[in-house]
Symmetry: C2
C-alpha cells in the first residue's frame, strides 16, 4: 500500500484550490429556474445539478476539502445541501451579489494565508463540460503555470461555431517557458455575426469560458493594483468581519473579466477542446440531451404525438404535444412556457413582464 | 294586466317540452374536459356552461318546469347543480350511455302521459348558437308543425362553409301545408371535401344539428315500428322500474339519426340561420372567442410575448407563450396541451394514449 499512499500524498502536495462561483441568478431557464433555485441548482441533465456536476468533475484533481464555493445568502442553504462534501466554512455567502471581481476577491481573501499562496481555479457553477478528462488535463497545465511560473490564466475553449453570444480571447504567441500555453492579446465581447465568423475562420480566437487560474496571493496583489477600492474593502472585511454586510454591499460591482483580466499585459491561456457549453438557453440544452427518433427530448410525464425536434419537459403534471415542431414546452407546478427552440432566449421577456407586474411568486 | 296574463296563459297552453341531451363524454376539449366534467359542463365562453346556455336559450320559449334533461349517473349531480331551476324528477340519469335513440326514447316514455302528447324538442347540451332569437323562431315553427300536423322535424342549419365533419340533410320540396318547412330527402354522413363543396354550392343541403321536434307519443309509436327491441325495453322499464339497470344496459345502442330519422319517409326540416356551431375542437372555439390585436384569445393568467392567432388558456397556473403562431395551449392543474389550431381535433390521439396506458386520473 505504501507507494500508492505516498503517491496520493505527493498529488496532495501539488494542491489546486477550486473556487466555484455559484451565486448566479439567471432567468434563462424559467419557469424551472427561480430566484431561490437558479440554473446552477437545477438537474438539467440526469440526476445531479450543474453545481454538483461542477464539483464532481474535479474528482481526482481537487479534493472536496480544497474546494470553496461563493454564493449568495439566498442560495446558501441549498448550496450546502447539494455539496455536503465541501467543508461548511468554505461555502461563503455574499450579503448580496456584487459581480465576480468582488466574489472572487472576497473568497480568496477568506482563505487561510497558506492556502491562498496555492494555485486557485475559478470555476462557474452553471456550465457543462462534455469531456471532463480533457478539461482536467487543461486545468493541470494551468495549475502548473500558476504554481511554477506565477502566471494568471484564462482557460479558452476552441470555438465550434460562430457564436455571437460569447466573449472571445484573441490568442498570441506560444509562451516559450510554458508548453501548451499561449499569450492572450485581448478580450473581445460578444461580436456581431460577421465578426464571429471571421474569428472562427482565423483560428486565432478562443471562447472565454470564465475559468481562471492564478495563485491567490497574486490575484490579491493584482486587485490592489487594478481595483484598489475593491481591494481596500476586502482588507476592511478581513480585519473587521462584523462590517461584512455594510462594506460588501458597497464594493464595486464589476466582473473579473472587465475589472482585471482585460487589463493584464501578460495573461496566458490554455486552449481547451472539452465540449464546453454555458447552457445559455432551453434551446442550447435541447441540443445536448438525448432525443427520440423524431429529435424530441422528453423529460417527465410527456405524451408526444407527432412532435418533431421539441424539448418537452414536465417537472410536474403532464405535457401533451400534438403535431408541433421545434418547440420548447416546460411545465412546472405553477406555470408553463411555450417558445420556439431558436427563440428560447426570449424567455427573459416573460420574466421581465412578471417582474414589472410584481408577480414575485413566479420569479 | 289581464291581456298580458291571458297571453301568457295562451302561450303556456301551446307548450313545448324541451329534452336536453347532456350525457355526452367527448374528449375534444381535453385536458379541460374529463370523464366527470365533459364539454357540456364547461364554461367555454363566459361564465356559464354550455348546458346552462342550452337551458337559458329557451327562456321565453320553454318553461324550466317543462324541461327534461337526460344525462348519465356519472354526471347527474353536476347537472342538477348546474340547472337548479329544472325539477329534480326531470333530470334523468341513464345507468350507462346507450346512444341517443335509447336516451330520447327513455326520457319521452318517462314523461307523464299528458305531457308526452305535447311537442318535444330534443336539444344537444353542448352546442353553441350565436343568434338565439333566430333559433327560437325556428323552434316555434317546428313546434307548430309537430303539434298541429303531427310532423317529425329535424332542424337544419344553413351551411356556412364546406364542412366535412358534419352530417347533412338533403332538402326537398317546400311542404304545402306548412309554411317555412321543407321535406328531407335523405341524410348524408360526413362527406369528403369535394362532396361537401358540391353540397354547399347546390344550396340544397343543410347541416344536421341533431335538434329534433316531434310529439312524444308519435316518437314512441315510430320507435315501436323502426326499433321494436328498443321500444319493448322501454315498456319493460316503464312497467317494472326496478329492472331499469338491467334492461337499460341491454338496449340497442344506436343514434336517433341512424335508428329512426334516416328511416322516415316524411321527415321535415326547418332551415335555420342562427350561428350554430357544435364547438367540435379547441380550434373551432378559438374562432368564436374575442381575440386581442394579434388574433390571440387569452383565458386566465396568460403572459403572451409575440403570440399570434393563438388560444392560450390557463385554467390553473400561468401560461407563458413567446414567439408562437396558431397554437392552442391549454393548462389545467395536472396537464398541459400544446397543438396547432388546425390540428386540435387530434387531441383525441392523446386521450387514446392515456386510455391505453391506464392513466384514468387524466381521463
Amino acid at each position: 500500500m505504501r507507494p500508492r499512499s505516498s503517491g496520493t500524498t505527493s498529488r496532495r502536495r501539488a494542491t489546486l484550490q477550486a473556487l466555484i462561483l455559484a451565486g448566479g441568478s439567471g432567468t434563462r431557464f424559467w419557469p424551472l429556474s427561480r430566484r431561490h433555485r437558479p440554473k446552477q441548482l437545477l438537474a438539467l441533465e440526469g440526476q445531479s445539478s450543474l453545481l454538483q456536476q461542477s464539483r464532481a468533475r474535479l474528482d481526482g484533481l481537487v479534493d472536496p476539502a480544497d474546494t470553496w464555493v461563493c454564493t449568495t445568502r439566498r442560495l446558501e442553504a441549498a448550496v450546502r445541501e447539494q455539496l455536503p462534501e465541501v467543508p461548511v466554512s468554505q461555502v461563503l455567502a455574499e450579503p448580496e451579489g456584487r459581480n465576480t471581481a468582488a466574489a472572487i476577491g472576497w473568497a480568496v481573501r477568506s482563505m487561510p494565508e497558506a492556502v491562498r499562496g496555492q494555485a486557485v481555479a475559478v470555476l462557474p457553477a452553471d456550465h457543462r463540460i462534455a469531456d471532463p478528462a480533457a478539461f482536467g488535463g487543461g486545468l493541470q497545465v494551468a495549475r502548473r503555470a500558476a504554481e511554477e511560473r506565477d502566471r494568471v490564466l484564462a482557460l479558452g475553449v476552441e470555438p465550434e461555431w460562430a457564436e455571437t453570444g460569447y466573449g472571445y480571447l484573441e490568442v498570441g504567441a506560444p509562451l516559450a517557458d510554458s508548453p501548451g500555453l499561449r499569450s492572450v492579446v485581448r478580450f473581445t465581447e460578444k461580436p456581431d455575426q460577421a465578426t464571429a465568423e471571421r474569428f472562427l475562420a482565423s483560428g486565432r480566437y478562443l471562447w472565454n469560458a470564465g475559468i481562471f487560474v492564478f495563485r491567490g496571493t497574486t490575484l490579491l496583489k493584482l486587485l490592489g493594483r487594478y481595483l484598489p477600492t475593491l481591494a481596500e474593502g476586502l482588507e476592511t472585511i478581513a480585519s473587521s468581519p462584523g462590517r461584512l454586510d455594510d462594506v460588501y454591499r458597497r464594493l464595486p460591482a464589476i466582473s473579473i473579466d472587465h475589472g482585471l483580466m482585460e487589463q493584464l499585459e501578460d495573461l496566458a491561456t490554455v486552449p481547451l477542446a472539452c465540449g464546453w457549453s454555458d447552457l445559455g438557453s432551453w434551446g442550447a440544452l435541447a441540443e445536448l440531451l438525448p432525443a427520440d427518433d423524431a429529435g424530441t427530448v422528453r423529460r417527465g410525464d410527456v405524451v408526444a404525438v407527432g412532435a418533431d425536434s421539441c424539448l418537452l419537459w414536465a417537472e410536474e403534471g403532464t405535457v401533451a404535444a400534438v403535431g408541433v415542431q421545434g418547440l420548447v414546452v416546460v411545465r412546472t407546478a405553477d406555470a408553463v412556457l411555450v417558445v420556439p427552440r431558436e427563440r428560447s432566449q426570449e424567455v427573459r421577456e416573460v420574466v421581465a413582464r412578471l417582474r414589472e407586474a410584481g408577480r414575485t411568486e413566479l420569479l
